[in-house]
Amino acid sequence: MSVSISTLSAGVIIETKSARVSVAAPKGRLSLRTRGDLGVFGSALGVEMPSKIGACVRSGELEVLCLGPDEWTLMLPQDQVASIFDALNAIYEAQPHSLTEVSAREVTFEIEGTHATDLLSIGCPRDIESIPVGEARRTVFDGVTVILWRDASTQFRMDVWNSFAPYLAQTLETGCKEIAAELA
């Protein structure tokens, strides 16, 4: 079981009239790599596995995100991690795969507010508006690889590796203040 080592604790980093940036409570994260039959994985996990890169499927508290042709990230409450290992170990012989717990690797930032897309555009070269609501993308933010979920039109989550998190928190804080200052 990996232990959280982030220097950031859950809570609001900054809130202005442009946007609010907060650190989410710790979550379970699993990395799944396989070239096996997705149908079998889907029935073991109780979801329909997404095969389109960026697509996200939710079932109860489990969220499965397709990151690449053979790569998925599973987000779930930490106390359910063991049950996923049990479910997938049972099909290991028939469907070889790699399942790794990476819960403590990343920190989730929650970014929401009327100017959330403007805030993201300070560091992300993608057209944020082109990400469909309900989907996610692995992309880059100010030189750092991040996973960006668009949960609602102006509500995002950003998963950042721990060692980059304080730097990105600072960048988002500055950006939030600057956008708010422009509005004033």
Binding site: P69, R126, T139, V140
Partner: protein, 100 residues
């Protein structure tokens, strides 16, 4: 900024998500021990230096993480096409007729 089409994500995305990864279609000999020093040198170090359409590898580093192949004009920086790793090398004449 260049816009590059990732054949795995099927999206056209900013260059900042990608890294360049050298000339494409450099194939390792199936029997490495049969190669002379000269042939090894050519395989390892000798690369084309094309002025014009160049077959090259790119990696969607901040994305799906996949390597893929591309044909880029080294003068204009225009990408003629991108295709999945392992796919056959396209004919340049086909790309130019269908392109623009």
């Amino acid at each position: 900024m260049l816009l590059i089409h990732c054949p795995y994500c099927d999206e056209t995305l900013p260059e900042a998500e990608f890294t360049y990864a050298g000339q494409a279609h450099v194939i390792r000999h199936p029997e490495p021990s049969s190669q002379t020093d000269q042939e090894w040198e050519e395989f390892l170090f000798i690369r084309e230096n094309v002025k014009g359409d160049h077959f090259e590898r790119w990696r969607h580093f901040h994305g799906c993480g996949r390597y893929f192949n591309a044909v880029r004009n080294t003068v204009s920086d225009k990408f003629l096409t991108t295709y999945k790793a392992g796919a056959p090398r396209p004919q340049l004449s086909d790309l130019k007729e269908g392109g623009e």
